[in-house]
């Protein structure tokens, strides 16, 4: 159970239970106490502005508390810790393909160690899916054409349901899997088998095969920007905008290179739309990221959506 979500949930249960009780008691009491009796007329009451204001302002105040609490929890849910292990997830009709940054590939199951933050970088190769682990209280739609991010930290070994929660066609209800949470030692043993090398290494191979290095040279002489140390840093564009070089920016620059050209470069790069699969794209992104070591300054902007909060506050599983 993820404590943060449940605490708010229980608070709301108590609050709305009290509200329901109040309204129901009033309804039943009034209905019984003031039931029609012969010869007794109703007492006419216009209304009461002070009372109206009371039951406008007090609920509004209570709602703001719920809003703020819900917002804090959501902020944690959407902010992956900086040093989280990364897993790339591709949804397709009707399966989940997962690839660890270390290179292990899985289908419809994900092995993770207890106590480690896991960041999921999700995309879809067809329709919208949604990656949901009810036990961890997380859910994130998986949208074709872009990356979305989710994260969790499992705190108890075991298997947990993985559901697709965005309707995606015939076998929507069969697009399920399991999250296997293992003790660190078991996990190390599991990790040691079956890998073809880290994802960034496959990315490097693809980078070479596609000839990317012809332009994206590791000095400043190339026709394309030097990618060393670029990830997570602000990038000045030709049109004056500044964007952060996050996963979505890398993705977009590979598939639609003309849309955000780095200042000082010409829009000469061809599109790779249709030439690379989602998995290859993930590998390329992982490779470019590996060119910027996590300790490098600026890497703290790597989280795609929001500023950081303290690590480990979020989606813990007990």
């Amino acid at each position: 159970m993820a404590g943060n979500v449940d605490a708010l949930y229980i608070f709301l249960l108590i609050l709305s239970g009290m509200m329901t009780l109040l309204i129901f008691t009033a309804l039943v009491y009034f209905a019984a106490r003031y039931r029609h009796r012969k010869g007794v007329l109703a007492e006419q009451i216009e209304g009461s502005t002070p009372l109206e204001l009371t039951w406008t302002i007090i609920p509004l105040g209570v709602f703001m508390v719920i809003f703020a609490w819900g917002a804090v929890v959501y902020f944690q849910q959407r902010t992956p810790p900086r040093d989280a292990t990364e897993v790339y997830v591709v949804g397709k009709q009707w399966m989940w393909k997962l690839e660890h940054a270390e290179g292990q590939r899985e289908i419809n199951s994900l092995h993770v160690p207890v106590g480690r933050d896991v960041k999921l970088i999700l995309t879809s190769q067809d329709v919208i899916h949604s990656f949901s682990i009810p036990e961890f209280r997380i859910k994130q739609d998986v949208v074709p054409g872009r990356y979305t991010v989710a994260w969790f930290r499992a705190t108890k070994p075991g298997s947990y349901h993985l559901f697709c929660t965005q309707y995606c066609g015939t076998e929507h209800s069969g697009m399920i899997g399991t999250i296997e949470v293992m003790e660190p030692a078991q996990y190390e043993a599991w990790m040691s088998g079956g890998s073809t090398g880290p994802l960034s290494a496959s990315g490097e191979r693809i980078f070479a095969e596609l000839g990317c290095a012809t332009c994206h040279r590791s000095d400043s002489q190339g026709r394309g920007p030097n990618l060393q140390g670029m990830f997570g840093k602000p990038v000045q564009l030709e049109d004056g905008r500044i964007v952060t070089a996050d996963e979505n920016y890398l993705r977009e620059s590979i598939l639609d290179p003309g849309s955000k050209v780095v200042r000082g470069f010409k829009p000469v790069m061809p599109t790779f739309q249709g030439l690379v699969s989602e998995e290859q794209l993930n590998a390329l992104v992982a490779y470019v990221k590996s060119l910027s070591p996590p300790s490098a300054p600026g890497a703290k902007n790597a989280a795609m959506s929001a500023p950081q909060s303290g690590p480990g506050q979020g989606n813990q599983v007990q």
Binding site: L27, Y34, Q44, F63, W69, G70, Y74, T165, S305
Partner: protein
């Protein structure tokens, strides 16, 4: 009561004035058009209900065993589309609103009687298109038509369904337009805005949403059809489109559409509660303005359907806080209804039982909305059975309860007959119990994680699903009963007096059923709305004279 004696000679009314199919199909009488709508939406209600029963039967067991997966997907899709676009949205406005608004404002008819008839024909054309779509294979996108599934992946009749709903929208716009003009221009002398029945206020607010919101869903569906047929890249990322754009456009209408469904129901309840408590409404102006506030704020909360869809954290924060803002006027209404009972003289007639049911179920539906608007909780319960339960508490527990309450309340006026009160009270009770048994377990299912739109599900969720299916069968009985005794009463029911409930409102000052042009002479209003004190005082005095 002196007026309770019914004349032996048959009076002319809107029902017996003319006979024959043509006199109905070419009528411009708002009351006859209301009945045409009543028959059509009842037809669609039972189709949608039939789909719902099949869904519940399939979910009786964890395995997908009753129907194929594709069939199941079509069932929940068409259940949603039929219930939302062909039953709930037209229900109260097109039937009760149509029948009552001219009567309530003291007019002969709506402002544009022929447009009113046109709106029904448009609805029927849309209905035939939808039936054709369903009979030739159906559609499986979910009623939400999410892209790119709907535009590039589904192999079903998406274009047909989209166009049917596109056409149905015009019927809704025309009804709204007619109401707004009627309410502005055709009120009887003396019937100021602050004397209007709150049913009329609620319909005014509803009409604003229909007029402003419906064009957005219309153009969105045209874009879906265009992308599917012509491969324009609007929503499909492979063609350079943006799938989230579709969701923004879809919910920009479809969230306010929730208020198209619930506001008229709130209006009905606001008529019933004062009548059966013999009291004026507590805080008239607050109840009236809360309808307008709901209509306005309702347009500013659409992206709360998209908290996990990939919108930014900051957008989510804005839409969360605005969603709480729209909850306030709804809460105000609940408090005012409850306060209206205080020191009343309360009767437990069938319409009042439905009104009690409405307030109770709407309260639960509203409070669980607070859970969903809380960002951190929405992330967990989004797209689970929690949300299914929540919106059924609003749309079925709320909107449909209100519709049934209104049908009972005004049935004597509409048909000129009384329904059997005992059966009606029993039906209200069955609906209430069946409804809670069906949908309350779904809140728990949702928090335990069962996703919506699942044809098969893990066995751990079975017990609650069995309860829910059992409830659905009870609910079905509760819905069949009123239909049977309403039909029965048309032939065998006791003739109704002009005002069997001693209710306030101009519609009760005319004969039951009314004549074609409603009022023998132009009424002039000199009293406030809900003047139950005067009505009851006069009644007591008359009773003494007679007694």
């Amino acid at each position: 009561m002196a007026t309770a004696t019914v004349p032996a000679v048959e009076r002319e009314d809107y029902l017996n004035k003319e006979y024959g199919i043509a006199s109905w199909l070419l009528t411009t009488d708002h009351k006859r058009i209301a009945l045409l709508y009543l028959i059509s939406i009842t037809f669609f209600f039972f189709i949608g209900g039939f789909f719902a029963l099949l869904i519940r039967l399939e979910l009786l067991t964890p395995a997908g065993d009753l129907v194929q997966a594709d069939t199941y997907n079509k069932l929940f899709t068409m259940h949603g589309q039929v219930m939302v676009f062909f039953f709930l949205i037209p229900s109260i406005p097109a039937v009760l609103g149509n029948f009552l608004i001219p009567l309530m404002v003291g007019a002969k008819d709506l402002a544009f009687p022929r447009i009113n008839l046109l709106s029904w024909y448009i609805y029927i054309i849309a209905g035939i298109m939808m039936m054709h779509c369903m009979l030739t294979g159906g559609v499986d996108t979910g009623w939400t038509f999410y892209t790119p599934f709907s535009t590039a992946f589904s192999n079903t009749k998406v274009i047909e369904a989209g166009l049917a709903i596109f056409v149905a929208g015009f019927s809704s716009i025309l009804t709204g337009l007619n109401f707004v003009v009627t309410i502005h221009r055709m009120r009887a002398p003396g019937l100021t805005w602050s004397r209007l029945p709150l049913f009329v206020w609620a319909h005014y607010a509803t009409s604003i949403i229909q007029i402003l919101g419906t064009p957005v869903i219309a153009i969105t569906l045209v874009l879906v059809v265009a992308e599917r047929a012509l491969h324009l890249g609007i929503f499909d990322p492979k063609l350079g489109g943006d799938p989230l754009l579709f969701q923004h456009l879809f919910w920009f209408y479809s969230h306010p559409a929730v208020y198209i469904m619930i506001l008229p129901s709130m209006g009905v309840v606001t008529e019933i509660i004062p009548c059966f408590s013999r009291k004026r409404v507590f805080g008239y102006m607050f109840v009236a303005l809360s309808s307008i506030a709901i209509a306005v704020f309702g347009f500013l909360v659409w992206a709360h359907h998209m908290f996990v869809a990939g919108i930014s954290v900051y957008a989510a924060l804005v839409f969360s806080i605005l969603s709480y803002a729209v909850a306030v006027p709804s809460a105000v209404k609940v408090f005012n209804w409850t306060a209206t009972l205080y020191k009343g003289s309360i009767y437990y007639n069938a319409p009042m039982l439905y009104a009690f049911g409405f307030v109770g179920l709407f309260t639960v539906g509203g409070l669980t909305g607070l859970f969903l608007a809380a960002l951190g909780i929405d992330m967990h319960v989004h797209d689970t059975y929690f949300i299914i339960a929540h919106f059924h508490y609003i749309m079925v527990g709320g909107a449909l309860m209100g519709y049934l309450g209104g049908m009972h309340f005004w049935w004597p006026k509409i048909s000129g007959r009384l329904y059997p009160e005992g059966w009606a009270r029993l039906a209200a009770l069955i609906v209430f119990i069946g409804f809670n048994l069906t949908f309350f377990p779904q809140f728990i299912l949702g928090y335990l994680g069962m996703p919506r739109r699942y044809w098969q599900y893990p066995a751990q969720y079975q017990v609650l699903n069995v309860l829910s299916t059992a409830g659905a069968t009870v609910l079905a009985v509760g819905y069949l009963l009123p239909m049977m005794y309403f039909l029965w009463s048309m032939r065998y029911g006791k003739p109704a007096s002009d005002n069997p409930w001693r209710a306030a409102g101009l519609e009760w000052t005319v004969q039951s059923p009314p004549t074609t042009f409603n009022f023998p002479e132009q009424p002039v209003v000199t009293w406030e709305a809900y003047n139950y004190d005067e009505i009851d005082k006069n009644y007591q005095e008359e009773a003494q004279v007679v007694g």
